[in-house]
């Protein structure tokens, strides 16, 4: 299952935090800080998998080698323009599928905000939560179809229509920005 979904920008400011297991606020913050530090060190050419930060590596030591367990063992991330999307999951999730899932998330946001950028997500973070809520419930993926996700969020927000925080989307999030991601699904 997916244990947490995080979004933060390239200065480490959180833009979305969703923990599917409850954690006190203090620990959440230090976990975010640790993961940000790991992401920040990585060059753009590096792979999309992070080693476990100290907070997580304590309990999960060798469990990855011996089949599935409850402990989170994988951290998948993807960076789009100024934002990094992180998913922390157990070994029952496929690492490559998680990269695709992040892509689906971002594409769905892009549909909701039309050429989404960081500012859209800051002001529309409630919508961002709604999009995520259509995709993942309690850490289990319930939908991967972008049409259905968007339709689900639209049905919640009624005829509010398109929403755009800034017109000049200079820092728009590119799609498929990383090479070799196209053909995985």
């Amino acid at each position: 299952m997916i244990n947490a979904v995080l979004v933060f920008n390239n200065t480490g400011q959180p833009r979305l935090t969703k923990f599917y297991t409850q954690l006190d606020t203090q620990t959440q913050q230090s976990l975010i800080a640790q993961i940000y530090r790991l992401v920040a060190q990585r060059p753009a050419s590096a792979c999309n998998f992070l080693p476990l930060p100290p907070l997580l590596s304590r309990g999960a030591s060798s469990s990855a080698a011996h089949g599935p367990s409850d402990a989170p063992t994988q951290i998948t991330y993807r960076t789009y323009a100024t934002l990094s999307f992180i998913m922390i999951s157990t070994s029952t999730e496929s690492p490559l599928a998680l990269i695709d899932l992040i892509q689906v998330f971002v594409e769905a946001l892009d549909r909701m905000f039309e050429n989404v950028c960081e500012l859209d997500l800051i002001f529309g973070y409630e919508t961002m939560h709604a999009v995520l809520g259509e995709m993942i419930v309690g850490g289990v993926v319930v939908e991967t179809n972008i049409e259905k996700i968007v339709a689900g969020v639209r049905s919640q927000e009624g005829s509010l229509g398109k929403r755009k925080a800034v017109q000049a989307a200079s820092t728009s999030l590119g799609r498929g920005a990383l090479p070799g991601l196209g053909g995985w699904r």
């Binding site: 080698a65 927000e157 009624g158």
Partner: protein, 963 residues
């Protein structure tokens, strides 16, 4: 800016907050505190929109770490709003801030039940996606029936969310699954079901699958059907993952799966599916069948071939990484298959990406054999040596012993190597190198002299501690420090010590290496400059130079380094090892001195004086162990120094024979850490039983008597007359092999005729042993009154030989541990070394012991990982519905529990109400930092909110309830 914001009042106000945050750069915290104070006021208003706005702001600030648990009651209020959008804010607040121990949860039950039953789908979805975040057993129990009814809702969106919600409820309340599973199964089996719902059900089954694979075996045909026909890659991945847990239970599945999986591997264009197929084949144990199926070999080579392709051909680092991950799983069962891919794996060791490197490193560690070990280790060491470290360090890690050192630098200048290596990677590499080399008691090492050289090099490669310090500052967690660089340093030192003890053949080289590390002049070249990171090495290394002092090339230089005054500040653990080494080396110096130059006398006097000075500095050390050792040796050496001054031509007796005898004796062999635990307690040993119940009175009487008689020899007798009742510490080496039949506990009771003979033998044997006190007169038999009492009261039958002694047979073990030493013949083997294994007896069961510890820890939840969801409760659950009666029973129980819960709800409600009234009164809730003011600012905000979007606001509020 032509803005088209969400036309709600609260949206606007959040906008203010965010804008304010941006304009208050630097003074953000003050601004946030002010906002929090406002929120605290706003959230108490009766206006639901205002409340929701305030809550939305709190949720936003919570993301940055500002606690909002104090607002949980208000969250509940907003959740109960009639309009959809405020309600959604309330539920979001609950997701982000409620914990299973949040008190208002009690009050939420009815609201949740009502919303689950709501007619509007968005309304209904809210509790479904929110419940997983704070479900408690009692909450799960009370909403279960409502949730179950939603499983047959007409809308697939509701059904899929319900399935997942049910799964999460089952984690805290397993009964939920017992009731829900038949329905979930119906959804799964239904061919007409919406694909999203099937997919969600498969995802849930995949989570459950590894806990209870047996329960899902009957469904295998359906899974198979879905895998082959669905054409949904997301789902196919999950099904394959599920099958990987099922195949070990049902070998026939393997046969069935082999063809479709091969088919997918050969045809699919989706790399994620391809990868999961390979992974499923590996994890499902499809490769490890015994029946020699020809297809199986084909599949194995197909998989490995594909993985190789992922590493070699694709420039995509992700594929490289996951391929290595998969190979890492294969390597435990099929090392030979992986070893064939060694070339590409070795290239990954130099990859620019640290994640890939670490995976390759794990893999390399898993597959090294004696013929590849040296090249792999040399490669890694070169990598560390040549990479610039994160702080610029002078290239002092140069190994002077390596002549082609400078030659190698230019041709390794590839971009990958010049990348800066983070220190945790460096530490990882060091650990891995040590793991690889010490694997299976050094069975892979061919050339031990090379290994000693590597160890000395590794000391110089210890990463600088700077990043470690940074980490420590922000996280003063004691556990985190165990991973630090000093820990690796200690490990390197321990390796040197291990080699010196275990591998007799290179003891000379090892001791010399240890000596070179100890010598203070070498510190600047062999250790990382400008840090005390290498200090961990010094402790074990000091022990080596002390214990094997006769191999030292220059004992006096070594001693001078040991007693260098800069060492006074070393950690206590290291210092106590130093203290033990100093007199040993000193003895060696004096021994050399006797045959040496005529000036030995003054030299040794001088050394003694300096040693005394060093020990004197430690005599008041705060660590008691260090202090004690320092003082003990200080006193002895002071005596020696006096003797030197007053003595004649020869070395004083104290220095020539008394002090050396402290350290000579039996050679120390490696003993397994578990050996002590295995010593069987003799049956007749009763530690809790009193010797004699009226001992105190007897003793008292005797004391009086003996004082009267005032025997001058009483003390002497006490010490010198053999105490026949005490346990003898026979050195186990000397135990003669027992020829009498052994009883199961390996204890041996010789007959009485033997006893006397043995006793005499023992006296003979120990006559000259300094560790045993020889009887002053064996026949006198004069005992102290104390002993007489014991003897008379316990009967004379007690004697030492009747105390059972476990036959350790250590001598045999040490001479030749079977299969431990590298035996295989290799053409270029430099020297064949004996490696002494750990000495122990009985079956080796250390792993078993660890396992029990592990399970114990797990069951108490001690070492649970952060973020971990505990699904162990499902392990005991049974899906088979044969226990109707029981569920009936539990329904009754549920009823009574429900009543109790309702009572508690009422109590808490009253308490909360009172608490909130109190807050209203004095206006200072929990935090205390709150000041009641700032009304004005809020008003401004409301005004500006009103200005920019009044029209849309109306529209928004009108549309929201219908959603």
């Amino acid at each position: 800016m032509s803005v088209q914001f969400l036309p709600n009042l609260f949206e606007k106000s959040l906008y203010d907050l965010i804008k304010g945050l941006r304009t208050h750069k630097g003074g953000e915290d003050e601004f946030i505190q002010a906002c929090l104070r406002e929120c605290k006021v706003e959230i108490k208003t009766q206006d639901m929109d205002k409340k929701a706005t305030a809550l939305l702001k709190l949720i936003y600030l919570e993301m940055f770490g500002y606690d909002m648990s104090w607002a949980s009651f208000h969250v509940l209020e907003v959740m109960s709003s009639a309009k959809y959008l405020p309600k959604r804010v309330g539920y979001l607040g609950a997701v982000q801030s409620f914990r299973p121990d949040t008190e208002v949860l009690m009050l939420a039950t009815n609201l949740l039940k009502k919303d689950i039953a709501s007619a509007s789908i968005p309304n209904m979805s809210l509790p479904l996606i929110t419940l997983p975040h704070f479900s408690t057993p009692s909450l799960a129990m009370s909403v279960l029936s409502d949730i179950l009814s939603r499983l047959s809702h007409s809308n697939p969106v509701v059904r899929k969310k319900t399935i997942v919600c049910l799964y999460r409820l089952a984690l805290v309340y397993p009964e939920a699954l017992k009731l829900g599973w038949p329905k979930i199964k119906d959804r799964l089996m239904d061919d007409e079901e919406d694909s999203s719902v099937t997919s969600a059900a498969i995802n849930v089954v995949c989570e459950l699958g590894w806990r209870r694979p047996h329960d899902f075996l009957p469904l295998a045909p359906r899974f198979f059907e879905l895998l082959v026909d669905s054409g949904n890659n997301w789902m196919a991945i999950k099904i394959i993952k599920l099958f990987a847990t099922l195949t070990p239970l049902e070998p026939r599945l393997t046969r069935k799966l082999l063809r479709p999986l091969t088919n997918i591997i050969q045809t699919t264009s989706a790399m994620s599916l391809l990868y999961e197929c390979i992974n499923g084949i590996i994890q499902g144990g499809i490769l490890d069948g015994e029946d020699g199926l020809q297809e199986r070999d084909e599949v194995a080579s197909l998989c490995v071939g594909k993985l190789r392709g992922m590493i070699v051909m694709d420039a995509d680092p992700n594929l490289k990484y996951v391929a290595l991950l998969a190979l890492n799983r294969i390597v435990t069962t099929h090392p030979e298959l992986v070893a064939m891919q060694q070339d590409v794996i070795m290239d990954c060791l130099d990859d620019a990406d640290i994640s890939i490197r670490l995976q390759a490193l794990d893999l390399a560690a898993g597959m090294v054999a004696s013929d590849t070990l040296q090249s792999v280790v040399n490669r890694l060491v070169d990598q560390l040596r040549l990479a610039p470290s994160s702080t610029s360090r002078p290239s002092s890690s140069h190994n002077p012993e390596d002549p082609d050192d400078d030659k190698r630098i230019p041709d390794q200048g590839s971009p990958a190597i010049s990348a800066v290596l983070p220190s945790d990677y460096r530490i990882g590499v060091l650990h891995r190198v040590l793991d690889m080399c010490s694997h299976n008691n050094y069975s892979e090492i061919v050339d031990f002299e090379w290994y000693v050289g590597i160890l000395v090099q590794l000391v110089g490669l210890l990463p600088p501690s700077e990043s470690e310090d940074h980490w420590m500052q922000s996280h003063p967690d004691p556990e985190a420090t165990t991973h630090s660089g000093t820990d690796v340093a200690f490990r390197i030192g321990s390796e040197i010590r291990n080699l010196a003890v275990r591998v007799r053949g290179v003891r000379l080289e090892t001791t010399r290496a240890a000596e070179s590390l100890i010598l203070i002049d070498n510190r600047s070249t062999l250790f990382p400059a400008g840090s005390n990171l290498g200090d961990g090495v010094l402790g074990p290394v000091a022990w080596v130079v002390g214990e094997f002092a006769d191999y030292l090339s220059s004992p006096s230089r070594c001693l001078q380094s040991l007693i260098d005054m800069s060492h006074v500040t070393l950690p206590a653990r290291t210092l106590s090892l130093f203290l033990q080494a100093i007199p040993k080396v000193l003895v060696q110096v004096s021994r050399d001195g006797q045959q040496g130059a005529p000036s030995w006398r003054s030299e040794i006097s001088l050394l003694l004086a300096r040693v005394v000075e060093f020990l004197d500095a430690l005599a008041a050390h705060p660590d008691l162990d260090v202090q004690e050792r320092a003082i003990e040796f200080l006193e002895i050496l002071r005596l020696a120094a006096e003797a030197m001054q007053s003595g004649g031509e020869d070395m004083p007796f104290l220095l020539a024979s008394v002090i050396p005898s402290l350290f000579t004796g039996l050679e120390l062999n490696p003993v397994a850490s578990t050996a002590q635990k295995k010593v069987v307690l003799p049956d007749s040993l009763r530690l809790d039983e009193a010797f004699n119940d009226n001992l105190p009175t007897l003793l008292h009487d005797r004391d009086n008597k003996s004082l009267e008689s005032s025997d001058p020899h009483i003390l002497q007798d006490f010490y010198y007359v053999p105490d026949r009742t005490l346990l003898s510490h026979k050195p186990s080496h000397d135990v003669t092999p027992v020829d009498a039949p052994l009883n199961p506990s390996y204890q041996n009771f010789p007959d009485v005729g033997d006893v006397e003979r043995r006793r005499v033998e023992r006296r003979e044997r120990f006559r000259d042993d300094p560790f045993y006190i020889a009887p002053s007169d064996a026949s006198s038999g004069g005992s102290t009154p104390f002993h007489e009492i014991l003897n008379t009261s316990n009967g004379d039958g007690l004697d030492i030989d009747s105390i059972p002694i476990v036959d350790l047979k250590l001598g045999d073990e040490a001479s030749g541990p079977p299969g431990q030493a590298p035996r295989r013949d290799r053409r270029s083997r430099p020297r064949k070394m004996e490696v002494a294994g750990d000495e122990t007896f009985g079956a080796e069961e250390s792993s078993g012991g660890d396992a029990t510890f592990g399970t114990a820890g797990r069951s108490t939840g001690q070492n649970r990982s952060l973020l971990q969801v505990d699904s162990s409760g499902l392990g005991q659950l049974s899906f088979t519905g044969n226990d109707r009666a029981q569920s009936q029973l539990s329904a009754d129980e549920g009823e009574t529990e429900m009543i109790k819960a309702m009572q508690r709800v009422e109590e808490v409600r009253l308490r909360m109400q009172r608490a909130s009234e109190r807050i209203e009164l004095d206006g200072t809730p929990a935090e205390g930092t709150l000041v009641k003011k700032k009304k004005k600012k809020k008003k401004d905000g409301a005004e500006s909110a009103g200005k920019s979007g009044p029209k849309k606001k109306k529209k928004g509020s009108a549309t929201s309830p219908t959603g």
